[in-house]
């Protein structure tokens, strides 16, 4: 079964973490390692990091069907920073992966324990039972 693991982070300044270099490197290495681990276990469907909210636009169709874009809203404190889609055997395994991602090191190497939203991905119709 497939799950999406959505990583939300708090918006700070430009959205770029302003940590010491050593901690930044450790964080990046942790995330690279996690992706590698999931790829090697055959559970990774895809993983993408998203650009910071500076690049975000809210789009609606106008009356003529043409796009109307809105800027980003600085009052929104949390934003989706990236996601993983994993194909795992049980919801527990999806939660375990999410917990691992959540524990990525932050400043001073302390685990960030950031919230990861885990949601099952809808599938096609179940097999017909005859």
């Amino acid at each position: 079964m497939k799950y999406i693991l959505m990583m939300n982070t708090m918006r700070v300044g430009h959205g770029v973490p302003e940590w010491p270099q050593k901690d930044l490197r450790a964080h990046i290495a942790f995330m690279m390692g996690l992706n590698k681990e999931l790829r090697e276990s055959g559970e990774l469907v895809s993983a993408e990091g998203l650009s910071f909210p500076d690049q975000a636009k809210l789009v609606r169709a106008g009356k003529d069907g043409m796009p109307i874009t809105d800027g980003v809203f600085p009052e929104s404190k949390e934003f989706l920073a990236g996601y993983w889609i994993v194909d795992v055997d049980s919801p527990e395994r999806a939660y375990a992966v999410a917990a691992k991602a959540s524990s990525a090191p932050g400043p001073g190497g302390t685990p960030l324990n950031m919230p990861i939203e885990v949601r099952p991905i809808m599938s096609g119709p179940p097999p017909e039972i005859l």
Binding site: H14, V16, L24, S51
Partner: protein, 425 residues
């Protein structure tokens, strides 16, 4: 005697693909279906050859398999139309199938290249179709390289073929004048394929298919078919001179290593000499174009054994020329870096000011990244940190973002300790 399948066989298959397609498309006068038939023949070869060995006449084998598919296809079309309209189909639709090799034409690859890079196509469809029809790659390989589902890629290719059909372009070599008009579009597609290899995300780089190699291979065959064309030579030189630095460009954790910190012993000397040779020959013919100029700049970098040996005055002169031939804010940005290296960072920062009002560059991370770099050079760390972080928030490349964030963090430490680990690693 069949030859055993080895690593050269795959290369052979890819090289044969456009020749086989040219032959089948001309015989059946239907590019779109011929292209599908050749793809099926390629897939058949990929399953059979590794087990049964490479046939003695691999090209003939592929033509035969593809033609059989075409005949089946035409037959079912005929019976479908006969059922629907009861109109007999001109028997001429299928040209006689005579000697296997007599209809081989080396220009076929060129015809296909011009066709697949038709200006009526969007870049993404032209890229996909070129890789399949001219590059001889399978839909799966192309889909994997671009990290899209295979069905999406198949659809992209089929829509590209519909556009070509709708455009009514005949299966023949464009006239010399058309060729001149359309060559830039062909070169642009090849250049984009090459660039994709660098732009692709981390996931894509782990895929088997090496798009940079494929782009170089395709440009090499374009060069062989248009030996007198300076622009093709310039593009091939640019690719080789850029690709030569690939192994040094990223560290063990895929982190980006800027040019001045690269381990130059990792640069590919063979690619550099080939690129320089091509460029020298092209430049000796007189006129200079944009690809040649960019290749020349790459060559100056490649020829410096150490970063501090870089001939910046020459690079500055080349950017000046580029700026006059094709003015754009991106060129000015690079010109500003070269100017900073020759005349000092203040000169570079002065030039950047002229870009602030340019809408084409507004909010582009490169402007902030270059400004940060020059501010770092003048020693204004506070402002440099600020611009590195703005640049990091604006780039859409993860390795680049990581690099820019690390630079900012590194400078923040340098302010305190006068020591920066990124410089010493």
């Amino acid at each position: 005697m069949k030859k055993a399948w080895d690593e050269t066989s795959e290369h052979l298959l890819r090289e044969l693909a456009p020749q086989v397609l040219g032959s089948v498309a001309r015989r059946f006068r239907d590019f779109s279906s011929a292209e599908d038939a050749v793809q099926e023949a390629m897939l058949a070869a990929y399953t059979q050859w590794p087990q049964e060995g490479v046939p003695e006449n691999p090209r003939g084998w592929l033509i035969q398999v593809a033609s059989r598919r075409m005949t089946d296809h035409v037959r079912s079309e005929i019976s479908r139309r006969a059922r629907e309209t009861a109109v007999a189909v001109d028997a001429e639709t299928i040209a006689p199938f005579n000697d296997m090799d007599s209809d081989m034409d080396p220009d076929d690859t060129l015809i296909l290249l011009f066709m697949c890079c038709h200006p009526a196509l969007t870049s993404s469809s032209a890229i996909a179709l070129t890789l399949r029809a001219v590059g001889g790659l399978t839909t799966t390989e192309i889909a994997n390289a671009f990290l899209v589902p295979e069905a999406t890629m198949a659809q992209r290719i089929s829509r590209a073929k519909q556009s070509i059909k709708a455009s009514g372009v005949p299966f023949r070599l464009p006239s010399p004048q058309e060729r001149v008009e359309r060559l830039p579009a062909v070169l642009r597609v090849l250049y984009l394929i090459f660039n994709e290899a660098y732009a692709s995300s981390i996931g894509a780089r782990l895929q088997r298919l090496d798009l940079a190699r494929e782009a170089i291979r395709l440009t090499r065959s374009a060069k062989a078919l248009l030996p007198e064309d300076g622009e093709v030579a310039g593009l091939l030189a640019l690719m080789l001179l850029t690709d030569a630095r690939r192994a040094a460009r990223t560290g063990p954790d895929e982190e980006l290593i800027p040019l001045d910190k690269q381990d130059r012993t990792l640069w590919d000397g063979a690619e550099i000499s080939e690129g320089v040779e091509l460029l020298t020959a092209a430049l000796s013919k007189g006129s200079v174009d944009l690809y040649q100029l960019q290749a020349a700049i790459a060559a100056v970098h490649d020829e410096a054994a150490r970063s501090e040996d870089t001939d910046w005055p020459q690079i500055l002169a080349l950017y000046e020329l580029l700026r006059r031939m094709s003015p754009s804010p991106m060129v000015t940005l690079n010109y500003a870096i070269a100017a900073a290296m020759v005349h000092g960072p203040s000169k570079g920062l002065e030039l950047l000011k002229t870009l602030d009002a340019d809408a084409r560059l507004a909010g582009h991370y490169r402007l902030d990244a270059v400004r940060a770099h020059l501010l770092e050079m003048v020693g204004d760390y506070q402002s440099a940190i600020k611009h590195y972080r703005i640049a990091a928030s604006r780039t859409t490349s993860i390795p680049e973002r990581n690099y820019l964030m690390t630079q900012a963090a590194c400078l923040a430490e340098k302010e305190v300790t006068r020591n920066c680990t990124a410089d010493t690693q």
